[in-house]
Symmetry: D2
Subunit: 445 residues, 4 copies
């Protein structure tokens, strides 16, 4: 058995059953043998390989892997790496590298320092020079990718490793034991401070008049998303989500307030976001990530009290100094809070009114007469609803004005049915993500 | 009020009440006003400043801060930064930097890129250029320092910031809210995997014949150290510690097996470590950190099953592939384990025998006749025991053969009464650490 | 006047009269006013912007500039940066960045650390935060770009700089004086060693039986290319070039031996490269750069003596240890050599024979009957020769097998009429380079 | 033969005949065999090793090497590396590293990423993993160290390399050919621009009324220092030097104006520096390096025209925008200038007056009556002059007020008889530098 087989077996043990990629010269050394219960999905270019892995990761909730050739392969992947970085997708990018002894950055043909280039936009980046180091690098990559905030890793793979022989004994030794993480890791918590902070959060929520919960994609990417939703219902406060967290509540849910969307009031020709954010007095951020929306998008109008609960230390920045910061297991903390505070009997009347206003405004545009030659985005969504069942299909959205319009009207019934790059927001990412989505959920449209 | 006051107030709000340091030209701009309940401890050089902060941190269990001048100030501190890095001490290193507009690395007098130099040996490193950025940097520094594995941070401080005016409104805005972390943060846990792994660990412990627990300094640095000790007693398995974790169990404790010490058998002229590690079948690592001892120090003899429980993902390396890895709150997990497994009625007879053998060997050397002109290390310890109460004083130990001998004979009754650099192990660190210890615990010897 | 005007004036003073680019949000702040004798060439995407600047640089022999939006703008440019890095093109890449106070890498929307990402593949990379720093950064960028080996620089431009006011006095102060470099810099020379090494090179050349000169693109990118050609003729040794250096000698030149081309013997169905490199005893490398061809491409067969003359220290690598290394002004050193050695009366007969063999083989393929439906590459070249004059047009070549075939048959009469990425060799670069070439030399085809 | 022998032979071939150092565990693997015409100078600690190499480098004009153990060895050396960086000393720092397969930065005992730590303050930094890579690394280190601005390099040496076997054939292959650089390299020049700039400089010098030449240490470190001095005399303009360049002109030379010294007027109780810099109209910087003195030290008073001539591009900064910048071989350019301009018949009368004023003031302090119990610095110098011949001994000066006083009064008769760290200016560097000086010039005091 040789290195290229070992890589497949190793990745399979972390749950990787598809590798999206493009091969160059290294194709001579790696066969991506289908016997290892692993498919190689050949795509058009390296960017698409990365984006497809991102799309698949969102739909499966699992880390994914992709593969590119050396040199320009790395730079072509750069936009996908940046997307996975800022959209917090656990994708492992493999890139080939010259043979170990020939590697000489910027001084040998097509040889660049892929590790240093990618380090600022990955959670882990390494160029192993033995198969043993490769096994260690893969384990560390998964560990870092699955620690919140989630994100990508890169392994630059000297192609001579692919042809190195490897004994069964070494395979047995280097394969990690079965307790491998294939789920995101939760929550660094301030052990001694956490109960104190939970109590403070409960006190604040109990006394606030018009609170709102903002849910970010960190929640919908968590394996506990559905339990968290359940706790939210118990707490009974209105919920607004980011673009990527869409679908946690369906649009007919009584707590549903749509998405944070700077363009919404313009698109719907009504003051809705303004009504929400200028009147709420307390904002409870749940798994909120600043790459999705800079706080300016909601932190205006009346001075608000802010509680932030997240798996990771959502870094204080100049426009974001929460009054109470809780770093811990979101679901565990939320359950404690839901037990400690009395469930709100009623939603604040302003928010009830806004809830109705949104639904009416959305319907109005979807019910307009079609233009002669073309469908507007609301009308497209209405048509798709008829074809596939209401909001029960997956939309992968590129970047531009149409993104904001689609994000306004499409209201999926579960998370990750609306796929967009909320963080990095690069043009041209929609198709690649859709390709991965199609492979990951062939049953969905 | 100006920047230099703001820095003091800001640090005070994170619990910093002493700053160890050396000032250069920037002394003209910062007064370290004692009105802010903060003492400036002037020491001889920058290395001592850093080491004193390390010593104080170990004894208080709190992060500490130190200050140096620019340029050579940074490089003189390097050994202290490296020590805090590998010994996992949460110490914030401030170094002065040229005025913002004059900064030009390697091209202006005494101006080096302190951030890049220190980045590989800190958990966070930053050079803010406004006071607002400084407030953010300090918050991030504390957050990173207090995330396991603990470690140092560095802030390079352009001296013009010290003279910038700052309004009360900004101070109020930039000071973090009261929920600031001043305790180490616990535990990234694999939410969904953790219960499964706990069960597997219990099964393994239940069936192992001769298990041992190795306790690392991560445990003794945790605010939960005493609860962890309690759980250990409930589980009732023999315990051996690293040098830095000494004192969790006193030497007369029935579970006490001394410290991992490659030189012990030579010093005591008996096979003790060999007897331990060649016979145990299961090793349960608790807060074990590879910088303290490379696994080769204990992972020899019979093939062992290994369980590793730590707050952070104790990275897999080539000589360390645990069978079961649990990343989570050590105390919480340990308590679950102690509830799930039946307490061991008896310690394995081999370990009982070894326990007695150690104590006899130690006493033998301490009871030897003194030489005419000098005391051996065991005799010094015996003398100190008489003067201050048995093992009830603090020893700060430099590096060299005498370190291994002292570590063999000194058996403190509580953690952090034996101070040494187990990780970085630099010559010349004993005195500096002792200075900090003296300031932190003036009541102790 | 504001920052965006200042940038234009500043770049104009370094000879930049075209900026290839794509604008995002920053378009609101920068107008690229045509009054400053500077055109903004809007292209389809950031990659094309970079490639067009590369193409223009090769044809003008001058540094060029391009501009992209922030975040994904940087990653989309990555392949062009890599190309400029390995093909040694002095191109200045501007990328927008968030406002100075909002910049927070990986934590703010579309905000990445463009400087760190690009540093490993540029000669200079910086993110200025004042206009004064910008002026310094631009000066350093040009200085580094124009030092051999030539290459790209990147400036990440916070968009608030564009709107900052700037006084005429400051413009006068910050604009560099007129002695600005706009030509590549020559030659670090070992002052005391150089004469000794020149003598040794002369001795070796005088005694070698069958020497060859390999000319790299560093020569054709030098402002002294034509003088160097003249010295070569005086020395009268056969010359072979790399792909990028094509055209220094036209194909009817008596010293012409074509290009180093691993595929040539297969394409022409004759042993030509093999005949050359297996028989020469001395290789004189002139401006040879390992990114163009790894030495294995020519360093086989008989053990050769190697002389390397370059402007910069052509780094020793594992497959490249020259017997004599001269780092200095290529033209000055070559002239000294041509004065010291007696001109070779005759070319070695083997090389004369090879010269004829190549020309015959090339003609044979160009004279073949056309296929019914399509033209082969040699036939296309033949047709173009008829249309535009023999070899007197510019070919921009993408990557793939057709590149090696085109490189075999197209024999331009001057340097930089054959444009390809010899170093980074990324697919998809041909069109972008051609766009820049068209703007730079509208007179050429 | 094994790796440790190979290292010695390799370094010997670059002229290294002494290695200053401290050994740790790696002492078992490297013997520093004196048979290789190389002495190992054991010093007290790593900082001293580095400083001694610096001292020796200044006196010999040759690169030097030193050696430290791993982990803390690197951080202890940091101040010496910083000094070599900012004082531009070509010193190669070796530090040991764990065995290749055990290396795991911050995760293994005493194992830090020495390459990344040192990169910001070296010209080259590398951790080879084979002996072949080591040979390449050493060659690149020397090449970078000897390119202006000169400076240090670091090689992190995995200790298993020391025991690797190496064949004679490989030694022959890996040893560079004899044309190895052991002298600093000269001058990147703007080929096409340089003559134009030289003419402009001549025009400016011809029309200026009261010009001065400032000579930096780059000149005195050049192998051409004495020829440059000769050209200066031909040009006949008053000369002032930096601290490190002291001695190029002796104090009785008619062009001598002492050193740039911000404290001089205070020490001598006379306006001297003020008289000089407030009246000169043209400053001609020769090998001037901003780490020695920030331009503010001389660029005040009357608006001056500035010409800067240096081997390397003396980077434009915010306080330093020369009117004419010439980057080239200092000696060659200066000779051209001296041929083009007519020698100045007379020195400006102001400067003649200042020259006399300095000498008088200096003598006054040296002739004062000694205090009862102690000698002042001027009196010490006077005494040493008596003992060893006037100013004909070497002074190594630490940092502090006494440095400025000594620099005022000591006037050596040749360069590098006054040794101080003008750039990094770290306390505690005097002794170490003196040790190296003593080894390098045992004949001098």
């Amino acid at each position: 058995m040789k290195g290229s087989d070992f890589i497949q077996i190793l990745l399979r043990s972390y749950g990787i059953n598809k590798i999206y990629g493009v091969l160059g010269r290294e194709a001579a050394s790696i066969s991506f043998n289908a016997d290892y219960s692993q498919d190689f999905i050949l795509v058009r270019n390296e960017l698409t390989a990365g984006l497809a892995a991102i799309g698949a990761s969102r739909l499966t909730g699992q880390p994914q892997a992709c593969f590119s050739t050396l040199g320009p392969g790395v730079t072509h992947m750069a936009t996908a790496i940046g997307t996975a970085c800022q959209d917090r997708d656990p994708v492992l990018f493999f890139t080939a590298q010259l043979e170990t002894q020939a590697t000489d950055y910027n001084n040998a043909h097509q040889c660049i320092d892929a590790v240093s280039v990618s380090r600022p936009i990955t959670k882990y980046s390494s160029e192993p020079t033995t198969l043993e180091q490769l096994a260690v690098a893969v384990d560390r990559a998964f560990s870092k990718m699955l620690t919140y905030p989630l994100g990508p890793a890169l392994i630059s793979l000297p192609i001579d490793l692919l042809d190195m022989p490897v004994s069964d004994a070494n395979i047995a030794k280097w394969l990690s034991p079965e307790s491998k993480p294939v789920k995101p890791t939760a929550s660094a918590a301030y052990t001694t401070a956490i109960d104190y902070n939970i109590q403070k959060a409960c006190d604040l929520l109990a006394t606030s008049k018009n609170p709102i919960i903002i849910v970010g994609d960190t929640v919908t990417k968590s394996p506990d998303a559905m339990s968290i939703k359940h706790s939210l219902e118990k707490i009974n406060m209105p919920v607004i989500t980011t673009y990527s967290a869409k679908g946690l509540l369906p649009r007919d849910h009584s707590l549903y307030l749509g998405v944070i969307n700077s363009y919404l009031d313009v698109i719907l020709e009504e003051f809705i976001q303004k009504d929400i954010f200028e009147t709420v007095d307390t904002v409870f951020l749940l798994g909120y990530d600043m790459t999705e929306h800079y706080p300016n998008a909601w932190n205006h109008g009346e001075r608000k009290k802010i509680i932030s609960l997240n798996y990771f230390d959502n870094e204080t920045s100049k426009s974001f100094i929460p009054d109470i910061k809780i770093t811990g297991d979101i679901q565990a903390v939320l359950q404690k809070i839901s037990e400690k505070i009395e469930s709100r009997a009623v939603i604040h009347e302003d928010m009830v009114r806004v809830h109705d206003k949104i639904l009416n405004a959305l319907d109005k545009f979807m019910d307009e007469e079609p233009h002669k030659d073309s469908l507007s985005i609301p009308q497209i969504i209405k048509t798709l609803n008829t074809l596939f069942g209401p909001y029960d299909y997956i939309v992968a959205n590129d970047i531009g004005t149409h993104r904001h319009v689609t994000a306004t009207f499409f209201a999926p019934q579960a998370p990750h049915h609306y796929l967009t790059s909320a963080g990095f927001s690069s043009y041209g990412t929609g198709i690649g993500i859709a390709i991965g989505a199609a492979f990951a959920r062939p049953d969905k449209r």
